[in-house]
């Protein structure tokens, strides 16, 4: 099990060819209070850098981009009723999707925790 980070401020906790995906604490702080999350559905396939959802704060809407190619296997439906969880526990309870990774070689383009910390400064 390893956790990867993208420049779009997502984390990806990988176990074999599946992963849990969410946004980082840093991203949640930058967004401000989240009031709405638009998620895709189980079975939806996506490509790296494709839009896989929208997170809206009081201030603005921000797109969620896929860090790798894959398919959605589970959606955290609790976020629909409690989008504020993304501010409270973005790297835990408030995960956004579980996905199947279709091209594991793309993980090499992502950062590890130390790399991400350096990236956000």
């Amino acid at each position: 099990m390893a956790t990867y980070y993208s420049e779009e401020h997502e984390w990806l906790m990988v176990e074999g060819d599946t992963a849990t995906l969410g946004i980082t604490k840093h991203a949640a702080e930058q967004l401000g209070e989240v009031v709405f999350v638009e998620q895709q559905e189980v079975g939806d396939e996506f490509e790296k850098d494709g839009e896989i959802g929208v997170i809206e704060s009081v201030k603005a809407a921000s797109e969620l981009y896929a860090p790798v190619d894959g398919e959605i296997t589970e959606v955290n439906e609790a976020l629909a009723d409690n989008p504020g969880a993304l501010n409270e526990d973005p790297e835990g309870e408030a995960w956004i999707y579980k996905i199947k990774i279709t091209d594991a070689s793309q993980l090499e383009d992502l950062m590890d925790e130390a790399g991400y910390k350096a990236f956000i400064g």
Binding site: G32, E33, F36, E38, V58, K59, A61
Partner: protein
């Protein structure tokens, strides 16, 4: 690009942990550590202090200033009594709105507050068109808004005279030994004040307000969600050079004599729209779901035809859901009408509602 200007309260924003952004050429706090939702609720439930020093403060001196202002604005400023303030706007020859403003009769002069982004338009406009009037922009005073049901206690504790003012009244009084202009008005839908303070005392006085247990600092983020819930227009979003006051549902701000007599730029269009109705009008819109409808979102009627566009939309912390305003074409816009909002390509159901979204709590 020149670097953004700083208000006299800049160092206080930094000290309070404000998140500073460039707004209309000014470095302003969008929020503090409390956050937009917390600051919004603070203002609705207790009191909040906003730095609005980026707005233009202008003094008009001369003979018959009210009469001369009436040539630029559709408001009745001749009959504006000393100690009273009145909301208004400059109109263009096509009947569009050039900017909105507050005019106060301060006795020996008029005090005008205009939008930050339009200072550079409005001041030359007044200088060129108010013949024989000395138009002076004030650069050495902060403008601080204290808003909320506890605003009277917060300001009154330091300035008893503030308690005696009613909504849209203005006076001069001392706060901590320095003369300030205090006006009972604001942009949140709550009771409160806007206070013009000499710049060297601005931080000390603002800190004294913040020392009150019911008062916290709030940023532009909360100011925007508060004004939207209160159904108040934002220049550049809901009103601009192309929108007439009648389209913008601002007919209430044009006094009867001016409606009848005209005599302001674009009067022909305004009078025609008063008589025959406008081609579109600004209405409140409440999405049924949770997705906020932002500026630019298309509004469709139930048969799928486009009838207008959202001009302001966000999440309303007091409403507890998304709220929006937008223009819909004539024949639409009755409260209760069902519409669809096209958000990211999908039709989201919504309803036309009467403005404001929250009851205005002014001290009349």
């Amino acid at each position: 690009m020149t670097s953004p200007k700083r208000t006299p309260l800049h160092s206080l924003h930094v000290e309070l942990g404000g998140k500073l952004v460039d707004f209309a050429g000014w470095e302003m706090p969008v929020q503090y550590p409390l956050g937009i939702m917390g600051e919004h609720k603070q203002c609705r439930e207790k009191a909040a202090v906003f730095d609005v020093s980026h707005m233009g403060q202008v003094i008009l001196r001369g003979e018959n200033v009210g009469e001369k202002l009436e040539a630029l604005c559709p408001q009745a400023y001749v009959t504006l009594k000393e100690g009273k303030a009145r909301y208004g706007f400059f109109t263009n020859p096509e009947g569009g709105i050039m900017d909105d403003l507050i005019v106060s009769n301060a006795g020996d002069h008029y005090f005008v507050v205009v939008n930050a982004a339009l200072r550079h338009q409005d001041i030359p406009h007044m200088q060129a068109n108010l013949d024989g009037v000395e138009v002076t922009e004030i650069f050495d005073r902060a403008l601080v808004a204290v808003q909320g049901p506890k605003a009277e206690d917060v300001v009154g504790a330091l300035c008893p005279a503030a308690r005696d003012l009613k909504f849209m009244e203005t006076t001069v009084a001392d706060i901590l030994g320095v003369e300030c202009r205090i006006s009972r008005l604001g942009y949140t839908g709550e009771d409160g004040y806007e206070i013009s303070i000499p710049e060297d005392k601005a931080i000390e006085i603002t800190k004294a307000f913040l020392a009150h247990e019911d008062c916290e600092a709030a940023g532009l983020g909360a100011r925007d969600s508060l004004r939207l819930e209160a159904g108040l227009c934002l220049y550049g979003n809901d009103i601009d050079q192309s929108t007439s006051p009648i389209e913008a549902s601002l007919g209430w701000a044009i006094q009867k004599r001016r409606k009848e007599e005209g005599g302001f730029p674009g009067a022909e269009r305004v009078q025609k729209e008063l008589a025959e109705g406008a081609a579109r009008k600004l209405v409140g819109i409440k999405p049924d779901g949770r997705a906020p409808a932002r500026q630019g979102v298309e509004i469709q009627c139930s048969n799928g035809n486009t009838i207008g566009q959202i001009t302001s939309g966000s999440f309303g912390p007091t409403v507890g859901g998304p709220v929006a305003m937008g223009y819909v074409s004539a024949g639409h816009g009755e409260p209760g009408e069902k519409v669809n909002l096209i958000i990211r390509g999908k039709a989201q159901p919504a309803q036309i509602v009467a403005l404001p979204f929250v009851t205005q709590n002014y001290k009349r």
